[in-house]
Each structure stands twice: as structure tokens, then as C-alpha cells.
Symmetry: C2
Subunit: 232 residues, 2 copies
């Protein structure tokens, strides 16, 4: 009666649908990334709920999550604003990434040369240091994984969570950017960071990393500001 949609019950080979809240979250996030919901668009719970054929309750949960991640801004009784991506925000995200990744390198350094060697060696063998034969999507994934591994080597779950959220946020910022031309630089920088960590050259690793992140901003046509720009 009330649940007119979906027959969750039995169904021999039912694939066990994920929770509605998750589906709503995915749907909106996807729409945010592929431009279905453009910057500045004011979307409503009901709109999304109707689109994916569910009630507003799970959509609300999704909106709340997306707000804490910085994708939406909720206005009471008004709707959810798709936060416009500004150069300032792009810079803020990259700066924050720099802060966390720099910390990771420092922590690995504090752990001692043995840890540096181990982590650096692993990273040096990562696909993101080569990149040949990888599709754009695979390269993107490899890039993300490379940095995630670097950060998680700091063995700090809170930092890991913060970093993951930042990376999600960057997804939207760089949604339309092309990385094809930059791939040689990117892989080279990955390799340099890994090698520097392996060899105990923390300062070199941090410097290359800074330049690496600056490259992302540059590709977007955004200036890096005093923190990310190369020193005189």
C-alpha cells in the first residue's frame, strides 16, 4: 500500500539494492560533477526525490552530507544552492591538500629513515609514477590513489578522512579540466616525490609536491597565491 514502488522483498536473485539515502547521495553528486546541476542552481528536495522516484527523506540526508562536504549550501525554506566554484575555493582546496600532504611527509620523516625508505619505495613503484598505457580515467584514479597512499602512510585516520573529503571536493573543481597534456609532468612529479621520500629528502619531496599541486591550479587558470607559488 504505502510502498507502491520497488518490491524489495524476496526475488530470488535480488541484487540487494543499496539504501535509498546512498542512491540519492550518488545521484546528486554525479549530477553536480557532470554539470546536470550547474553552479548557482537552486535545487529542491522534492525535485530530486521525484527524479529518482523516492521520498524526500533520503534526499534530505544526502543534502546534509553534501553540505558538510561543501558542495551545497542549504537555505531554510528556500532550497539548496549549488555552491559556485570560485578561484578562491580552488586555491583553498589545493592549499589544504598541501597542508595535509606536507604533514604526511613530515610524519613519515619523524618515523625515521626506515619508514621513509619503505613508503618511498612502494610509492615509486606505483602506476601513477609511470602512467603509460593508462586511460584518462585510470590515470585519474591512479593519481588519487597515489596521494591517498602518501597521506595514509602518516597513520592518522582523521587526516585520512579530511583528505578524502578534500579530494572529493576537488573532483568538482577540476570536473572539466583536461589533464592530457600535463600527464608527463604529473607522472614525473609523482616519481620525484616518491624517490625523494625513499631517499630521505623530505624537503625535496615537499617542494616537488608544492609544485605539483600548483600545476593543478595553473591548469585551471588560477594563480597559486603566496603559499603555492614558487619562491623567488
Amino acid at each position: 500500500m504505502p510502498p507502491p514502488t520497488a518490491a524489495p522483498g524476496d526475488a530470488g536473485q535480488a541484487p540487494a539494492e543499496p539504501p535509498a539515502a546512498d542512491r540519492a547521495y550518488r545521484h546528486v553528486k554525479t549530477g553536480l560533477l557532470d554539470g546536470t546541476y550547474p553552479d548557482g542552481h537552486l535545487l529542491s528536495e522534492g525535485e530530486v526525490a521525484t527524479a529518482i522516484n523516492m521520498s524526500r527523506t533520503p534526499v534530505r540526508e544526502a543534502f546534509l552530507r553534501l553540505q558538510t562536504e561543501g558542495f551545497l549550501r542549504l537555505y531554510p525554506k528556500r532550497g539548496a544552492l549549488v555552491v559556485p566554484v570560485t578561484p578562491t575555493e580552488a586555491r583553498a582546496v589545493l592549499e589544504a591538500r598541501l597542508a595535509l600532504e606536507t604533514f604526511a611527509i613530515d610524519k613519515i620523516t619523524a618515523d625515521g629513515p626506515a619508514t621513509m625508505r619503505e613508503v618511498g619505495t612502494d610509492l615509486r613503484a606505483h602506476p601513477a609514477c609511470d602512467g603509460s598505457g593508462l586511460s584518462t580515467a585510470e590515470m585519474h584514479e591512479a593519481d588519487r590513489d597515489f596521494h591517498a597512499r602518501l597521506v595514509s602512510a602518516a597513520a592518522n585516520p582523521i587526516i585520512d578522512d579530511l583528505y578524502t573529503a578534500l579530494r572529493d571536493r576537488q573532483l568538482r573543481i577540476t570536473a572539466g579540466a583536461r589533464t592530457q597534456n600535463r600527464r608527463p609532468d604529473i607522472t614525473r612529479q609523482h616519481a620525484e616525490v616518491a624517490a625523494a621520500v625513499r631517499d630521505g629528502a623530505a624537503d625535496t619531496a615537499k617542494e616537488v609536491l608544492r609544485d605539483h599541486l600548483l600545476g593543478v591550479l595553473r591548469a585551471l587558470g588560477v594563480a597559486g597565491g603566496p603559499m603555492l607559488e614558487p619562491p623567488a
Copy 2:
């Protein structure tokens, strides 16, 4: 642009109660901090909803927020677990604070000596550098404000948000700790950090800061690990 969050129409002498979701959030958070909901307690939406006389819907929102902040862990169909505070978590929070505050100092440094002087001078005059005549609660507030100002000097709203969340999280960790005996150290370290920033001695500032944060862990009887412990 629509007015962000204007006061609801009236504003006459109506108490203008805050939204139920906010009340639920405050209630649970307070309970978390004052020990009403101890570590490992499994609480339910209905329990809270009944206690403060509202429906479960706003309570659910509050639970979601508290989960993203790391206070609760939600188990489907089970309830919300009050995340136990472990030494590991305490260390992770303090390390994360170190990462962000260190970044702030670096950014201020990158901004140039003029910025350092200005920020450092302001901080040096902050009540948290003196502390005489402040109650425990006031001192606590001053401490929090001091660090928040340092971080916000980095002019990065994302970092600000992350830092605020960390600080909230620390609230719970240090809920029962006494700071009375440590106050002289704390105020001295604040003053030293401020003076170092003012005078352009970034490395000194970061070193004192590290020691300052280590002090929090020490007061809890937790070891700092390789990152926070003083170098040999």
C-alpha cells in the same frame, strides 16, 4: 543573492526557538561532553527524541552531523554508538591540529614579514597570552580563540572549517582534564608563539606550538608519538 539566514519575520518578543534539529544537536553534544552519554553507550533516536520531546526526524539529522564530526558511529538498525575516546584518537586529533596550525604559520610566513608582524602583534596582545584574572572557562575560551585566530590568519576558509571541527572533537577528549596547573605553561607558550610569529621566527613558532600541543596529550597521560615528541 538571497539573504542567507535572515531572522524570521517577527522578531517581536517571540522567543523564536531555534530549529528542532539544532536543539537536538546541542542536546546530544552537551550530553556527550558532560558524560551523560558515556563512551561506548549505544543510544537511539527515539530515546533522544523522547527526552527532549520532539520527533525522531530532527534527532536523525543531529546524529548524522555528529557522525561526520566523529562523535558517533551509526549502526543501521542498531543505534548510535558513542565513539570511545582512545589514546590513538587523542593523538590523531592533536596531530591534525599540528598539521593545520603549522600550515597557518607557513602561510603567514609566505605572505611576508609585514603579515607576520601584524598577526604576531595581534596575537601577542591576546588574553590567552596572559591569562591572569580569567576563570577556567574563560581561559578555555581564550585558548580556543587564540588558536582559531592563528589559523584564520591563513585566510583559508576550508582550513578554518576543518580546524573548528577538530577543536570540537578535542572538547570531548579533554572533557575531564584539568588545566589549572598547566596554565602558566600554556600562557607562556602562547606568548612565545605570538612573539615568534611577530618577529619572523617561523621555525621557533612551530617548535613551541608542537610542544604546546604535546602538553595537551601529556596532561591526558598519552604519549605523543614520533611526530609530537620533542626531537632527541
